[in-house]
Amino acid sequence: MEIQLIVALVIALALVFDFTNGFHDTANAMATPIATGALKPKMAVAIAAVLNFVGAFLSTEVAKTISGGLIKEGDGGIQITPALVLAGLIGAIVWNLVTWLLGLPSSSSHALFGGLIGATIVGAGIGAIDGAVLVSKILIPALLAPLTAGVIAFLVTRIAFGITKKKERDGFKKGQIFTSSLVSLAHGTNDAQKTMGVITLTLIAAGFQEPGDGGPHIWVIFVCALAIALGTYSGGWRIIKTLGRGITDVEPAQGFAAEAATTATILASTHFGFALSTTQVASGSVIGTGIGRKGASVRWRTAGRIALGWLVTIPAAGAVGAIAAFIASFGIAGILIDVVLAVGTIVFIFLWSRRSTVDSRHFHQPEPGAFVRPKKKKKGNRR
């Protein structure tokens, strides 16, 4: 009975995490098309939601070890228990909500890793964490991702502005629809997998699924796809505002250039197996395109806040995960206290966010030409 309850709680929390993952990352694909008016806000999140849902079904190849070797598992290592996964998920969810409240685009994967690391340290000691893997798989890529995307976005912004004339640049809006859709699809194929991996790991650990069963059950794929799509549709408007308006003012040509850089970098990183965070790539692209356009200015204070958020993500999610793991170590009562605290925190952050709502209406744009072009004066009957 006890194990069923824990597994059910882990699945529920994993889906909550999946939901926060969706609304946290809508901005990566859709902040720039919304900012330039290439897509209406509601339309943009609807497209992103559908593509995330579809994307979740596209890849059958599951990340068997979602920890990616970070936590020493198997022989001579430690057994990560469902209670630790639960604690890790709480850390990830709480940190995702805090960064959302602050409007910071931070990596959901890092939040998940951080939460799991924190929980594992409390549950199994610091020795269970592979420091070298932490540096090479997370810290160094976190520097390289925005740098790479930023340089590429800078160059292609220069190209786009060099070739086209001012009156032609509205055409880039059509291109933006395609590039941002590709980012959304790629996001769906990658990110819903993480939650599927967590749920499948838990099912295996609890003995509800054979280890060699080959990937997640179809119902797991379906609920994960649904959760990430709903999260995406609800739109993390605060983060969209930061990425689309906060860092720099994005014009259609810049939006297209930034998304082309983001898409190319993400697809290349997946193809060559050098994992880069989508959030960090997308943020780097926006900064790069801000530097690339003459006369545009980058608000470095905002960029600095975002970078600080990235630095803090793993330790902060880890701290919450560690506290949750400590409480969970008191058995089933501890786990229930954990869940109650987590739900309380979620409700509190939600209520706090109502003090200043940011939603799709903040991105209203006048129809192009509605105010810009004054009516031509009639000069007699000359044609």
Binding site: E168, F172, T189, T263, H271, F272
Partner: protein
Amino acid sequence: MIDWLAFVSVVISALVAACLVVTLFSLALRLGDGTETWRKGVSVTLFVVCGLAVLFGIYLIVPALHQIA
């Protein structure tokens, strides 16, 4: 521990791909602006090439397309 070769591959391929697509799309917009008939044709052709790039992107995203089972 860092797979620098993979990273360099990522940078080069992403750089080339992004520059190519943005150049083609920009040229397509630039040429689509004129009145001469040849410009229209070239412009449409360039848009089609950009469309092919999008299809290649989908090919890369969907594992079933590039992994022979």
